[in-house]
Every structure is written in C-alpha cells, then in structure tokens.
C-alpha cells in the first residue's frame, strides 16, 4: 500500500488550514474548511483500499471469490459528506447574513468582538 494517499490527506488538511488562516474572504474561508474536510475523505478511503479489490457489492460476485475494499470506511465517508453538507450550508448562510449586516465578507474588517 502506497503512502501517497496518506501524504495527500495530510497535505490537503494543512493547505486547507493555511487557506483558512490567510483568507480575506469568508466564502473562500468556508471553501477552505471544505478542503480540510476532503482530507478526511481521502484518509478514510485510503484506509479501506485493498490492492486489486473491487466494490463491496455482492450482487454479481460470489462472496469470498475476490477481494473487495472495506465498505465500513465508505459508509463513514458518506456520513461525513452529509455532515459536511450541513455544516457548509449553515456557514454559507451565516456568511450571507454577515454580508447583509456588515456590508463586507472580509474577516479583517470584522473586529467588533475582541479582547
């Protein structure tokens, strides 16, 4: 099993965090959060990958006849995607409200809460 997917997951997470830390636009920042989350998808799928395995659907293959990839991590990834959709939608809705109330989506100009 190659380490490349794991390195890729780590890279995605860090680059997403970098984007969040330096973003000048809140919509962009929410996108960066989604990038961080895609790191978790890559990691989970890499964990469940089997070399030469096929999809874990047993309608046309006999169980045990050939290796299949781990279905548990795929279920986890799907759950994670649902959660991600909820979080992203909610955060984007908040950004729209921020744009309406503050007339800006630049986090540098939102400094009412400090100290």
């Amino acid at each position: 099993m190659s380490v490349l997917p794991y390195l890729c997951a780590g890279w995605l997470f860090l680059i997403g965090c970098y984007g969040l830390a330096t973003s000048r636009n809140l919509i962009h920042a929410v996108g960066c959060l989604a990038v961080c989350q895609s790191a978790t998808y890559v990691l989970l799928l890499a964990v469940g990958y089997r070399h030469g395995g096929t999809a874990p659907v047993f309608s046309d293959i006999a169980p045990g006849s050939r290796p299949v990839v781990d279905p548990v991590v795929q279920a986890l990834t799907l759950t994670d995607i649902v959660i991600g959709a909820t979080v992203t939608a909610l955060l984007l809705a908040l950004v729209i409200q921020i744009a309406k109330r503050h007339r800006t989506v630049d986090p540098d100009e939102l400094s009412e809460l400090r100290g």
């Binding site: 969040l20 920042a29 548990v72 994670d80 959660i83 909610l90 921020i98 009412e112 400090r114 100290g115």
Partner: protein, 600 residues
C-alpha cells in the same frame, strides 16, 4: 423496562420532539409550541432520572446494542450505548438544564419570528438529543456524529438572531473552529480504524491492549487528533478563542446550555476516550497523559482567570470564567485517579447550576436595560434586589463558598491534585468569583465611581434586547429559573447520597478492564472501591479563604480609582483575542503541535 432499553429512548424522545415541532411548528400558536417543547424536554429528563435511579449499583454499566447486533466472542460490528453512572448522570444534567433554559426562554424571547414559533424549541431539543447521545454512546464514530450534531445546532442557536450583525459573526467563528476540530477528530478515528479495524471505544481499547509495548507514532497521532476536537469543544487553551465570541452573542438561554454542559461534554469526551481506549498497556502511558492534561489545564485556568478579570462585557466575563473552570476540570482529570474524576464530576454538576443561573441574571439585565456593560449599568440594578441577591450568591458560589457543590467539587479535586494545585485552585476561583462580585457591586450596589472605557475592548453597550421592547417588569419565570438552578447547586454540596453515587461512578469510570468486559463480554466486574468524595476541614477552609479573597478583590477593584487606559501587561493578552477567524485557526494548529509535543 430495563435501564438498557431506556437508553435509546433518552436520545430518541428529544429527536422525535424536534421532528414534531419542525413539522407542526408553523401551524401551532406560540404557547402550544413552547409547551410541546417543554413536555418533550421534561419527558427526557424524567426518563434519564428514572434510568439513573433504576441502576442496580453505582458501578453498573447497562449496555444496549442497537438493532440487536450483539458481539460474538468479544467481536462486534454493532453500535452500542453504554449507560454507566457518569454518562447517565451527564445525560440527566443536560436534560434538567434544557427545561430550565426553555422555561427561562418562555418570556425571554417576547416575539419569535413570524410563523416560526416552533423553531427555537425544536433546535433546543435537537441540541439536547445530540448532547445526550454524546454522553451515552460507546462508539467512537457515533460520538463524532453526535459531536457534529450538537455542534451544528449550537452554531445555529448562536446565530439565532440573524438580524444582528455580531450574532452571525460569532456564530461563524464558532462554526469554523469547531468544525475544524471535528475533522481532526475524524482523522484520528480513521487512523485508529486503520490500526485496529474497530470503531467502538471498547473494541479499540481491546485491540490496542493486544499490542503491548507502548504506543507507536500512529497511536500517539490518533490520540492527539481525537483529543484535539474534544478539547476544542472543551475550550482548552489555545483552542478556546471561539468561546468568548460565541457566548457574547448567543441568546442567553443558549449561553446557559453552552457554558453549563456543552463545554463540559468536551472534557467528558476527552476523559472517556482516554480511559476506555487508551488507558491500557498499548495506549498512552499514564505519565504522558498526565503531563499533557496538566499543562493544558494550568494554561487554561491561568489565562481564563486573567481574561475573566479584565472583562466589562458581562457575558464575556462569564465566558472566560468558564474557560478558567475548564482548566480546573482538566487539572482534575490529569490526576488520573477515581478521586480526581469524582471531584470533577461534582464540580461540573454544581458549576452547571451556578453558571446557568449567572447567565440568566445577565439576561434579565439585558432585557431590562438593553446593555450588558458593567460600566454602563453602574448603579442601575438597585431596583432589582432579588436579582442582586442571586447574582451575589452566584459569584460567591463560583468562588467556592461552602456548602455549595462548587466548593465540594473544588475541594475534592484540589485534594486529589495536591501540592501547589491547591494554591492555583484557590487563586483561580477567587479571581473568577471576584470578577462576578465586582460586576455585581458596580451594577447592583452602585459602589465606586463610574470608570471611563477604553476603545480597545468589547463593551457590551447598546446591545439589542432579546425582547420586543425593554422589559418594564421582570417576568416571574425569568427569576424562578435561576433561583431553582442555584438551589440545585447548593443541593449538590449537601445531599450525601449524591456523593457516594459519584464516588462509585468515578470508580467505574476509571476501570479500563471492567468497561471492556462489561461491553464486549457482558461480564459485570466490580472495580476496587475508593472512598467517596466528602467534605474535609482543609477543603472547607480553602473554600472560605477563596470566598473571602474574592470579596476583597472585588471591593479593592471597585474602590480603586480606575485609569482610562488598560494596564500595560494585559494589552498583548487582549490582542491575542482578535476576533479574527484566521488567527484562531493559526492558534488551533499551534495547539495541535503543543499537544503532540507534550505527549511524545
């Protein structure tokens, strides 16, 4: 119905209630929607109380495999709910606080958005379901799902008043930082699954135990990642930045829940994951876990107390006091003994009542005067003697005045931690209690002169009241809720049965092997009993000393002529809390690195 059978209901009843309110809320008049929400919340509370009372012993662990997917030969693929006394106790605490918050909100939001009468109780019920599920689950991935459920609802509740500029801003920061924490937890869960092939806490624990010889880099990385998300929820320094912003803008009934139980659930999650999965021979060695938790705890307690003292925005003041107390809880966990856990459990129970009551008092001020600024409210509270009494009592209880439960929990925890920790506990609780008393002395007694403000800080002036117009008369429900909560905090210190129950629960909580045997093999084992937490003379003396110190600090602060400029050494500390989401993410990464460095 056995206790095990009641466990899924404790999660399902509030979920069902939320669904009913979402479906029918538009057509219901407001009182009906509120009563329906209260009925479901109180019904869950009754279920949780009944389940706690029906436990055969304090160390019993009823286990429910959902859908009947029981383990065979210690191996399982099912999802499990474990109702040990600690988890059930927390679910009970959540379920008692939710009706209190709903009852308080009854007259608090004078006017809900048109045609959305059911939206607030529905969200609160979802929040309750997420928190109860998190307290009861025995499955790490499920814990993540419940973690995210309570997170998403909490962001929505924080930004509930979408028309207000600051509310949506605080909600967004809260959402970004906590979601990032949730994703690190999921990365950690992925790593643990890769190593063990299991998702249940007990199964992971058993798989790690089967590979003794200390942890390797992967296990340490997994623990760091899983703990990071939970510590973000717990608002440990340097993951705490979201908390003050969220508390400053969230509606007061939501603050009662956030500070009262949600933050504590992060502490609970950290302890639960450590004790069930990582406490065995293949997990994290005890000295390393002790070092990491102690360092974070001390840092959190000191920084929280320092920031708490400097606030004039009353909600931020209480928020930072929660940060400081989280630090004390973490120090209690770091002891890694049943005594420490028992002390923290009592402290959390009483702290929830006191902190929620204090938030309720601030909410009354906000709706009566349209401000939560200590300076602007100077002397205005004279007309509210009952509220003044409660606010002062709350401040003293926070400082650890015996016989409040906070004093008992603090005394037991500091005794377990021992040595210099006693001094730290006394100072931190005196400072946080003193800050509340100082604010109370200014607002309710009008002591001292009205100080000028500086432009650098969040003041809390000109806040929108959460009612249609400023209240002329305080509704009884808004005074009743904090009174009952303070009485409950007092009861935690006085009821002897609770102390022995908490002692047994702590024994069971710290029994790694017993938990695995109960969940996977269905074998009940009794842990080695330790003495239940109890009042001791030094504990009472230290508690009294902290209360006196708090009063002295408050009086000194009020009498001293206030300079216009903030004290110089505090300026860098304030600058750290910039309200900028990018800064908070940078601190988050620094925190992950710090945690990893402490554990290696």
């Amino acid at each position: 119905m056995t206790v095990a059978r009641m466990l899924p209901l404790i999660v399902a009843v509030p979920l069902f209630g939320a669904a009913v309110l979402v479906g029918a809320g538009r057509r219901l008049p407001r009182p009906a929607a509120e009563v329906l929400g209260l009925v479901f919340a109180a019904g869950t509370a009754a279920l949780a109380l009944a389940a706690s009372a029906a436990l055969p012993s304090a160390t019993a662990r009823p286990v429910e495999w959902l859908g009947g997917w029981r383990p065979h030969g210690g191996v399982s693929v099912g999802i499990v709910l474990v109702g040990d006394r600690t988890g059930l106790g927390l679910a009970t605490l959540v379920s008692l606080l939710v009706p209190a918050a709903l009852a308080y909100a009854w007259r608090y939001f004078d006017e809900p958005p048109r045609r959305h009468a059911g939206s607030f109780p529905a969200l609160v019920l979802l929040f309750q379901a997420g928190m109860c599920g998190f307290a009861l689950t025995g499955d790490l991935f499920n814990a993540f799902v419940f973690f995210e459920l309570m997170g998403v609802v909490a962001y929505a509740l924080t930004g509930y008043r979408v028309e207000e500029a600051r509310a949506v801003q605080g909600g967004l920061v809260f959402g970004v930082v906590n979601s990032l924490g949730g994703y690190t937890t999921l990365l950690g869960i992925g790593l643990l699954y890769a190593r063990t092939g299991e998702l249940g806490l007990a199964q992971i624990g058993r798989a790690l135990d089967a590979r003794p010889g200390g942890p390797d880099a992967l296990v340490i990385a997994a623990f760091v990642l899983v703990a990071t998300g939970l510590l973000v929820k717990a608002a440990a320094v340097p993951f705490h930045f979201w908390l003050a912003d969220a508390h400053a803008v969230a509606p007061t009934p939501v603050c009662m829940l956030l500070s009262g139980v949600m933050v504590e659930l992060g502490v609970y999650g950290t302890a639960r994951v450590y004790w069930t999965a990582f406490a065995g021979p293949g997990g994290i060695p005890a000295p390393d876990a002790h070092r990491a938790l102690l360092a974070l705890g001390v840092l959190t307690a000191v920084l929280g107390a320092a920031m708490c003292w400097q606030q004039r925005h009353l909600k931020r003041l209480l928020a930072y006091s929660t940060v400081a107390h989280t630090g004390l809880f973490l120090i209690g966990l770091a002891v890694l003994t049943p005594e420490g856990i028992g002390g923290v459990a009592l402290y959390v129970l009483a702290h929830a009542g006191v902190k929620a009551a204090l938030f309720a008092c601030v909410g009354v001020l906000l709706d009566r005067f349209g401000s939560v600024d200590e300076y602007e409210l100077h002397g205005k509270g004279r007309e509210l003697p009952w509220l003044a009494g409660m606010f002062g009592t709350g401040g003293l209880a926070l400082a650890g005045l015996p016989p409040f439960g906070t004093a008992l929990g603090k005394a037991v925890t500091e005794e377990a931690a021992g040595g210099w920790a006693t001094a730290l506990f006394v100072v931190v609780s005196a400072v946080t209690g003193g800050a509340v008393l100082r604010a109370g002395a200014r607002v309710f007694l009008g002591l001292g002169s009205r100080p000028p403000g500086s432009p650098e800080e969040t003041t809390g002036e000109g806040e929108e009241p959460e009612t249609r117009r400023l209240l002329a008369r305080i509704p009884d429900s808004m005074l009743l809720a904090p009174t009952v909560l303070l009485a409950c905090a007092l009861a935690v210190g006085l009821v002897p049965g609770l102390r022995s129950a908490v002692g047994g629960a702590a024994d069971a909580f710290t029994d790694h092997a017993g938990y695995l045997a109960a969940v996977l093999d269905g074998r009940a084992t009794e842990p080695a009993p330790t003495p239940a937490p109890h009042w001791t003379t030094p504990g009472v003396v230290w508690g009294l000393l902290a209360s006196v110190l708090a009063v002295v600090l408050a009086l000194l602060a009020v009498q001293r002529p206030v300079a216009g400029e903030p004290v110089r050494w505090t300026v860098p500390l304030r600058r750290l809390h910039s309200g900028h989401v990018g800064d908070y993410v940078a601190w988050f990464l620094a925190g992950v690195t710090l945690l990893a460095a402490l554990l290696v």
